[in-house]
């Protein structure tokens, strides 16, 4: 577990630096076990910072979500660094963003948090419903320890941990300026069992499965907006001319949306699972992303978000790439 005193001390040092504009971290949420992003601009705000397994958000999204208004005449653009706290999975988003040259390495200051897993808040709230007062979640060995209302409950890790953590290959950040805790060895991997199982079913079965999921979609765009890799200023899916996807919501347009969203993440998705976490109607979006992840790995031996020097998958090729599907 990250030591809070150390975390806040580091944050103080970072925010005091002249070349740092703000620090993006976590702070307690407004109720129950929730945590939320914190945007720290001054020393007086440092004390709210924390890190626990409730800190599910991928803060790398905020690096590319920043809204840049035109600089007013006579004003200089603010070129100071943004400091950001990242878990292992989140750090891969930074790597992939930089691989795509979204910004330069010296624009950001990375505080890495080696991570043994975060909770799936839906599982927590199903297990402990109606907790309004702020509670805390810790991870001790292979148990989550939840304290609330003066109670302390221990729950086996696998019961509350987020699914993505059970497949996590990179618990220690791949890019950082400072590491806030000791490195964590890889403790899990993805065997794609569910993807393979679904893949083996008949076309009709598969479509029935997805049709039900996609027909629930309300196109709130939360999966797109939360994604650290969806940072086009002008999203192709929002355009009216040419219009790839109509704004009306039905199974055809919803499917088009999900195909386009997932495809645009082919060879780019870094498995942080944020899209699936935020989906209000529980569409298993990671099953789409992981399909691509698996194919990309098997066909092109490529793993996104692992090396800044890698060229992006779809803007490169090998002469010997497979072509057994071509007539």
């Amino acid at each position: 577990m990250v030591d809070l005193t150390k975390l806040r001390q580091t944050a103080k040092e970072v925010i005091s630096r002249e070349d740092v504009r703000e620090l993006i971290g976590y702070r307690p949420g407004t109720y129950g076990f929730r945590a939320r992003p914190a945007f720290v601009m001054g020393l007086d705000e440092v004390e709210q910072l924390m890190f626990t397994p409730a800190c599910v958000n991928n803060l790398a999204s905020y690096i590319v979500l920043e809204e840049k208004l035109p600089v007013k005449r006579g004003e200089e653009p603010d070129l100071r660094k943004v400091a950001v706290m990242v878990k292992g999975c989140d750090s891969r988003a930074l790597v992939q963003q930089m691989e795509e040259k979204a910004y330069d390495r010296d624009r950001i200051l990375v505080l890495g948090i080696p991570c043994r897993g975060v909770v799936d808040m839906a599982k927590v709230e199903a297990r402990f419903p109606n907790i309004l007062e702020l509670g805390e979640i810790g991870l001790e060995g292979d148990k989550f320890v939840l304290s609330f209302n003066g109670n302390k409950e221990e729950v086996a890790k696998e019961e509350l941990v987020a699914d993505k953590c059970l497949r996590c290959r990179y618990p220690t950040p791949l890019v950082y300026d400072q590491l806030l805790d000791a490195e964590v060895e890889r403790f899990a991997d993805d065997d794609y069992a569910d993807i393979e199982e679904l893949g083996k079913r008949s076309a009709e079965d598969k479509w029935t499965y997805w049709e039900e999921k996609f027909s629930r979609c309300i196109r709130c765009f939360s999966c797109r907006n939360v994604c650290p890799m969806c940072y086009c200023e002008d999203c192709v899916l929002g355009r009216l001319q040419p219009q790839w996807m109509r704004r009306s919501v039905d199974i055809s347009e919803n499917t088009a949306y999900h195909i386009a969203r997932a495809y645009h993440l082919a060879g780019r998705c870094i498995q942080c699972g944020e899209c699936q976490r935020v989906c209000p109607v529980d569409i298993p979006l990671m099953e789409l992303n992981r399909k691509f992840y698996k194919d990309v790995e098997e066909l092109y031996d490529y793993e996104p978000g692992t090396n800044v020097e890698n060229p992006p998958l779809l803007s490169t090729f090998k002469v010997e790439d497979r072509e057994d599907f071509i007539m």
Partner: protein
């Protein structure tokens, strides 16, 4: 008005009777509770908190055709809402019904919106009182609602353990009660008293609250306050809070052309949190960042709407709090508004 009983064994029967109309009831799609049209009573799931997507979509569909056309032809074929027929929304929560009553004011403001109003006329709302609050973030009592509220409803059901207490509230409700005459039975003498006790207890279980008095008057003065910047810092600009809000009613209108120049003009939900919402053809956007959009959302609900229609456009259902990906909490915002100077 005399109250009736619906024993739980006869619920399936009653739903079967109602399915001769267009019957909407809560059902499960995987683990998500959605309101949908059901034909088989077994599909209905009455043991639920509240649906993720509010039932507003049956008065104000996410996408609906206004009229069809053939390009180049002067003939426009108007959508006939009447064809959808009598609709029963069974088991919606009092807050969602109250939300419809609030949105009715907007759709009848000066220009009648024929699609919405016709659908409302065709729809009977059968409410299900919240004996237990559906979520920890319910705060309906702060906004003049109640877990047993009847505003907007035609019929209210209360779970009394082995049966539901049935109260008809309007003529439409009475008519429905007649339809169900063979499933309903007379209530016991103390049923109503018991229901009142349960109601009082249920109100006590609502744990979140906000004193709304003064907020509508105060908001305009906080226009330049830095709280908006702070609140919106974490906002992703997605549409969860607005699409899942039972009172949000903004829409976009789009033309869709098909093969051979046939097409339709339709409207679909839109969200003030989207960038495209206000952007001009010139590219200029009067609300350029999420700060302005967040400010507009809160102001619209808590200041502009009460200014026009004398009622806050929020019913305290808690959906936006439960499902916001970054825990932006409207009660937290309102607390800040109250504290701000």
């Amino acid at each position: 008005m005399a109250v009736k009983r619906l024993s739980k064994e006869k619920v399936a029967d009653a739903l079967g009777e109602l399915s001769k109309f267009r019957l909407i009831a809560p059902a499960k799609s995987d683990d998500v509770v959605v309101f949908k049209q059901i034909s088989d009573p077994a599909e209905a799931c009455l043991d639920y908190g509240n649906s993720t997507v509010p039932p507003k979509k049956f008065a104000f569909p996410q996408t609906e055709t206004l009229f069809r056309f053939v390009t180049g032809s002067p003939e426009l074929e108007e959508k006939n809402v009447e064809e959808e027929g009598t609709t029963i929304i069974f088991g919606l929560r009092p807050c969602d019904a109250r939300a419809m009553a609030i949105v009715d004011k907007l759709f009848a403001w000066d220009f009648d919106d024929p699609y919405y109003l016709k659908r409302r006329e065709l729809t009977t709302l059968v409410g299900m009182a919240c004996v237990e609050p559906p979520s920890v973030n319910c705060f309906c009592t702060s906004l003049g609602g109640s877990p047993f509220g009847t505003e907007g409803l035609d019929l209210l059901l209360t779970d009394m353990g082995d049966h539901y207490l049935v109260q008809a509230l309007t003529d439409k409700g009475k008519k429905l009660e007649e339809t169900l005459s063979s499933q309903l039975e007379g209530a016991a003498a103390d049923d109503e008293k018991k229901a009142k006790e349960i109601a009082a207890e249920a109100e006590g279980k609502i744990r979140r609250s906000i004193a709304t008095g003064g907020i509508p008057e105060k908001l305009p003065g906080l226009w330049e306050n830095e709280l908006w910047k702070k609140i919106s810092a974490a906002c992703l600009g997605c549409g969860i809070c607005t699409f899942l809000c039972p009172t949000c009613h903004c829409f976009d209108i789009q033309d869709e052309v098909e093969e051979l120049g046939e097409g339709r003009r339709c409207r679909m939900w839109d969200s003030c949190m989207f960038e495209e919402y206000t952007v001009h053809a010139s590219g200029h956007n009067p609300r350029p960042t999420r700060k302005e959009r967040t400010r507009n959302r809160i102001n619209h609900k808590y200041s502009y709407y009460p200014d026009k229609f004398d009622v806050i456009a929020c019913v305290g259902c808690g959906r936006c709090i439960n499902l916001c990906p970054v825990n932006i909490d409207i009660l937290d915002i309102l607390d800040q508004v109250v504290d701000a100077s």
